[in-house]
Each structure stands twice: as C-alpha cells, then as structure tokens.
C-alpha cells in the first residue's frame, strides 16, 4: 500500500477577538487620560497657637493686618489695605510689606501678616495677595478665622 502523504494542515489564527480587546483598551485610555498639568503650591502653614502645644507668643512681633475687599475698579477686582492704609496697586503693596519686613528684621522681631479677606473674596484673589507677600519675603502669613453658617 502506498503510504499516505502527510498532509500539512494550515492553521488560521483568528485575530478578531484580540483586535476587539486591544481596541477597547485603546478607547479606554484615550477617554480616561489626562495630561499632567503644570501644578504647584504655595507652602503656607497654619499657626500652631491652638491646643496644648501652643507656640510661644513672640513678645517682639511686628503685626501687619491685610484687609482684602472687593473693588471692581482695581486690578484683580480687589482693594488691599495694610494696617488700614489703602494700597493703590500691587507695587506699592509689595513696597509697604518690604518696609515692614525691613523694620522687623532691623529690630530683630518677627513680622507676621494676618489676612482678612471679605466674605465675597474668591480663592484667586487671596492667592494673588499671598503671592505678593511671598515675593516680598514675608512668609509668616495667617488667615483670619471664619464662622460656619448656621
């Protein structure tokens, strides 16, 4: 008997399910992806003058009170007052902060700024003021408290 020729069987690889899954993965990543945004932070700290571990009160303390009030006629829509004096612009504001800081440094005291934002002031406006303080090397900044609405 003639020996049967070994037949070479051709195997078809079905790629359809794999392509389906791969496309689903691709769509998932395209839909959910967010590009990394250029995000930073202002390294502020809250005062440690509450509770049992209160920080010692600095006897020699140069206090600056900064009021932030809404005023649409001014840049950034705010009026800034330093110890009750209205600042015509941010340049004068920085100058005033620098003057207080120099006075404090010369006297060996801590210069501390407390921000009093009006209730209608928004986050951006406060960040602008904090930014100006940091540009003026004034890093000791605190915020006035706020009551919870009943």
């Amino acid at each position: 008997m003639a020996r049967k020729k070994a037949e070479i069987e051709e195997v078809d690889l079905d790629l359809t399910p794999m392509i389906d899954v791969v496309f689903l993965l691709l769509i998932f990543f395209i839909v959910t992806m967010k590009f990394k945004v250029l995000e930073g932070k202002l390294e502020t700290e809250l005062p440690k003058d509450v509770g049992v571990n209160s920080s010692p009160v600095d006897e020699l303390l140069e206090k600056i009170e900064i009021d932030i009030q809404p005023d649409k006629s001014r840049p950034h829509g705010i009026k800034v007052l330093v110890n009750g004096r209205t600042m015509p612009n941010f340049e004068t504001f920085r100058g005033e902060l620098g003057r207080w800081k120099k006075l404090g440094d010369a006297a060996g005291t801590v210069t501390k700024a407390t921000l009093y934002p009006s209730s209608t002031i928004n986050y951006e406006q406060v960040v602008k003021v904090v930014d100006q303080c940091l540009i003026s090397q004034l890093t000791d900044i605190t915020f006035a408290g706020v009551a919870f609405d009943k």
Binding site: E39, G40, V50, F143, F148
Partner: protein
C-alpha cells in the same frame, strides 16, 4: 489581509497612553487653579491629603463628593475623614500636630471663606494639621 502593521501601531498607542496617563491624578478634581509666581513644584509626599473645593463650595476628596460645608453632614464627614487620616500618620515629635500635609485645591472662583472653613477644621483638636498648602498653577517657563 496582513494585520501585522495595524496591530503593531495599536499596541504602540496603548503603551503610549499607559505611560502618559498618570493614575495618581485621580485625586485631583477638574478645577481651574489661580496662577501664582511663587508657586513651588508640587512633589507628592507620602500620606499627603488633598481636599478639592469646587466653585460652588462643594468638597470632593478622592472623587467622592462630601457636599457643601454649610451642611452639618458634610462638616462631620470631612472632620471624620481628616481625623481618620491623621490617626494613620505620625505626629511631629513632642507635639500633637500631625506631620502629614494637606493640599487645598480650590477653583479660582471659589469663595475663600470655603477654604477658611477647611482650615478651621484642620486646627481642631484631634486633627491639628498645620501644613496646609494652597494649590496654584505655575507659570510656564
């Protein structure tokens, strides 16, 4: 039809998207941050908490809505969350202050009084987080 080049391209695209999509950003709500010249690079610290405050004053943490802080339920929920997180971390040596930091991310149009409310909770006994950083957008170099 030869599918090999298409499969190659599709795999390359998947690898690209897997690399560029940053899963750590899941904690960051979609907000428009204000620009600050003095903003420093935000390097992720271990155990750092993030509180997002939406323009309408609603709080969002890890994609979970906590409601507005004027609602007593939201206030208690935020207090509970922060207290639980603080308990997991360490304290500054010799103090009751938490060594963990909190990043407050608020939209540029959010009223600052909402941020102050979060700060107030941070100062409460049992929480005492003093490293409260304000998120801001950086200038493009």
């Amino acid at each position: 039809m030869d599918m090999t080049p298409m499969i190659d391209v599709v795999f390359l695209m998947i690898i690209f998207f897997m690399i560029v999509s940053d899963m750590s950003q899941q904690d960051l709500a979609e907000l428009e941050l204000p620009l600050a010249e003095q903003a420093v690079d935000d390097e992720t610290e271990e155990g750092r908490m993030i509180v997002n405050i939406l323009p309408d004053g609603h709080i969002e943490i890890k994609q979970k809505a906590y409601g507005n802080l004027d609602e007593p339920g939201a206030l208690a929920a935020l207090r509970g969350y922060l207290a639980a997180e603080v308990r997991k971390g360490e304290k500054d040596p010799g103090t009751t202050f938490s060594s963990r930091s909190l990043l407050v991310r608020a939209d540029k149009t959010t009223k600052f009084k909402e941020v102050q409310k979060v700060m107030r909770i941070c100062g409460e006994t049992g929480i005492q987080i003093y490293k409260v950083h304000l998120a801001a957008a950086q200038n493009e170099q």
